[in-house]
């Protein structure tokens, strides 16, 4: 069992929170808008904290100091950068994963020990795989002919 704090309850954040809660982890999800929590499915049984994640009081209410894993998924890169560094530097959260909206900004996280994931890069990687596979297939077909 892990204690996970998810920052941002948008499409990504809510899906991650659902998944982890279903797997039996302790999950707390933080979002500025109370209505964002409607995105969570009924089987989400963790806590929700309504507030701005850039305020330390809110992060402490989500018990950031006890987190084993923190997943930061807001739409604003500067918020993500700030919160992830608070988590890593000030509270020594063992594992911090950040969603990067603007791929160029991944520079910020170099040598910080923060794990970064960019939906854009992932999309491109997948696309490249698909294309190369299809090319491969096409080549194979040519050969058999």
């Amino acid at each position: 069992m892990m204690y996970v704090v998810v920052i941002g309850c948008g499409k990504t954040g809510s899906a991650i929170a659902d998944l982890l809660s279903k797997n039996g982890e302790d999950v707390v999800v933080v979002d500025k808008l109370n209505s964002s929590f409607n995105l969570l499915s009924p089987e989400y049984t963790g806590f929700t904290v309504n507030g701005d994640a850039t305020e330390l009081e809110i992060l402490l209410e989500a018990k950031i100091d006890k987190a084993d894993l923190m997943i930061i998924t807001t739409e604003i890169d500067s918020v993500n950068a700030m919160v992830s560094q608070i988590a890593k530097k000030l509270y020594d959260v063992p594992k911090v994963i950040v969603k990067i909206n603007e791929p160029l900004k991944s520079v910020i996280y170099r040598n910080t020990g923060i794990i970064t994931l960019s939906p854009t890069d992932l999309f491109i990687d997948k696309l490249r795989d698909k294309l190369s596979k299809e090319e491969g297939k096409a080549l194979d077909e040519e050969r058999t002919i």
């Binding site: 204690y3 302790d26 009924p42 089987e43 989400y44 049984t45 963790g46």
Partner: protein
């Protein structure tokens, strides 16, 4: 057509859950038999537990096994949870009544009454405890223990998978201790069982026999109030036993989330909690005024007056229902004070009943906020909050509305019940006392509830206890949903 298929699938899931909970009830029925090594002479009664248990297990197993296996990741909504809770509670209550009938002690009405009183942790009783076998006495306490925590909480902490979150909410125990429902329910069961064991030890230390200690500890923490003695705690006439009972009753009436904060050593947050504050305030108001205006006419010495007043105040507000002596001799002031306390009741998310301290506190606070707001500038932005569990809870206006609706519904139901009592020729104060006791799942009696009470009175009380325990709305939602769905299926054929 598509919708009908979806409905079919949902109801199969519902029946599956009911099956699981029914099998759990059949296992509970076997628990009193564990005491047979100590009371071997009572083996002749064991059939009255075995038969219903086997019968229930078969029904539950059929429900569970022969409904089509659904995809695993289906979760329940609050309404569907409500249907499951309603039906499995009814099954549990009816099956728990069977031992009383099979032994031949009670008829159908009385047995259902007794079992409802047990499961809803009321404590009104029509069983003659002097002649009842020990197995039956144990069974009454065990019903209260499980009824206090709730069928769903018990099952969710052990076997049920956590997709049934709607179930947890439906049983009226919505506060969560930990950020996962499974660990929350486990924590509740640990706290509850821990206190119960401590209670048994304390009772034994203060001079009760082990059998009485076991039964009274279960009944006190579940705020149930079934006793193994005719005159309840008054039988012992011992101050130390009374003090232990005070503590256990107060623990039972405290929200488990608040206990969690207390056990983690957060005393500041504990005393900031609205329910705890209101509990303390009400106790410190009602104990002295009961001493001055009512109890001092009954006893001659100050210690006796104080003891009686403290005990009856706590037993009423915690909705336990143990008592020291009869209420027949109390004057109108005392009787009505106890009625008020019984209607207010204990904490939300505890084992108590009544309107609940949280709702009263919230409405009271919102009145203060309204008065204060009147004197503030027009464009002021204010954040109203109260402390609940370990965190601040921001109060939105619909919270107050929900609480106020509940209170009004509660009072209307209360008046309706009192009217039914009056129609049977009881006096107004007796009727008000007895129905407040049933609706608030308290269990204090002014003498109406007895074996020879008319069936209509027993059924009114039975229904009152059921509504009071499951907090009205869940029952309404569930019944309306069932009717709507049936109507839909018929109209589309």
């Amino acid at each position: 057509m598509r919708y009908i298929n979806i409905l079919k699938e949902r109801y199969q899931l519902i029946i599956k859950y009911i099956g699981i909970l029914t099998m759990a009830a059949s296992a509970f029925l076997l628990l009193p038999l564990l005491s047979l090594p100590f009371y071997p002479e009572e083996i002749k009664y064991s059939y009255s537990f075995l038969i219903p248990s086997i019968f229930l297990f078969i029904i539950g197993y059929i429900f569970w096994k022969y409904t089509k296996h659904n995809r695993e990741e289906v979760s329940l909504s609050l309404k569907e949870g409500g249907i499951i809770v309603l039906i499995s509670w009814l099954i549990a209550v009816i099956s728990s009544a069977l031992p009383f009938m099979l032994i031949g002690m009670l008829n159908f009405t009385q047995a259902i009454f007794e079992s409802m009183s047990g499961w809803t942790t009321t404590g009104l009783s029509v069983v003659d405890v002097t002649t009842a076998p020990k197995l039956i006495l144990l069974w009454r306490s065990i019903m209260q223990f499980f009824g206090g925590a709730g069928l769903v909480v018990v099952m969710m902490s052990s076997v049920l998978h956590p997709y049934g979150f709607g179930l947890y909410k439906a049983e009226g125990r919505s506060d969560q201790l930990l950020p996962h429902v499974k660990r929350s329910t486990k924590a509740i069961m640990y706290i509850y069982t821990g206190y119960t064991v401590a209670g048994i030890l304390l009772y034994v230390l203060t001079g009760m026999s082990l059998f009485d200690a076991f039964n009274h500890s279960l009944a006190a923490l579940s705020t149930g109030g079934f006793s193994t003695q005719v005159d309840s705690i008054g039988h012992y006439n011992s101050l130390s036993i009374e003090v232990v009972t005070w503590i256990l009753m107060l623990l039972g009436t405290t929200n488990f989330a608040t206990h969690f904060a207390l056990l983690k050593g957060k005393f500041k947050i504990f005393f900031k909690n609205g329910e705890i504050r209101l509990l303390l305030i009400l106790n410190s108001i009602f104990i002295p005024i009961l001493i001055f205006f009512s109890v001092n006419k009954l006893y001659s010495s100050l210690p006796a007056i104080t003891r009686r007043s403290i005990f009856e105040t706590i037993t009423a507000i915690s909705t336990t229902g143990f008592s020291l002596d009869t209420f027949n001799t109390w004057n109108a002031f005392g009787t009505f004070s106890i009625i008020i306390l019984m209607l207010i009741g204990g904490g939300t998310g505890s084992t108590a009943g009544g309107i609940k301290l949280y709702r009263i506190y919230l409405i009271f606070k919102s009145i203060i906020w309204e008065i204060k707001g009147y004197f503030l500038p027009a464009d002021v932005v204010k954040k109203n909050y109260i402390w609940r569990g370990e965190t601040k809870l921001d109060i939105k206006s619909n919270f107050v509305m929900e609480a106020a609706n509940y209170v009004v519904l509660y009072i209307f139901t209360y008046f309706l019940g009192v009217l039914i009592f009056l129609s049977q020729g009881y006096s107004i104060s007796d009727s008000m006392f007895e129905f407040a006791s049933a609706l608030g799942t308290v269990g204090l009696s002014i003498g109406i509830t007895a074996v020879d009470a008319p069936p209509i009175i027993l059924w009114t009380e039975t229904l009152g206890m059921f509504l009071g325990r499951l907090e009205f709305f869940v029952i309404f939602f569930a019944i309306i949903k069932i009717f709507k769905d049936i109507n839909y299926i018929y109209s589309s054929k």
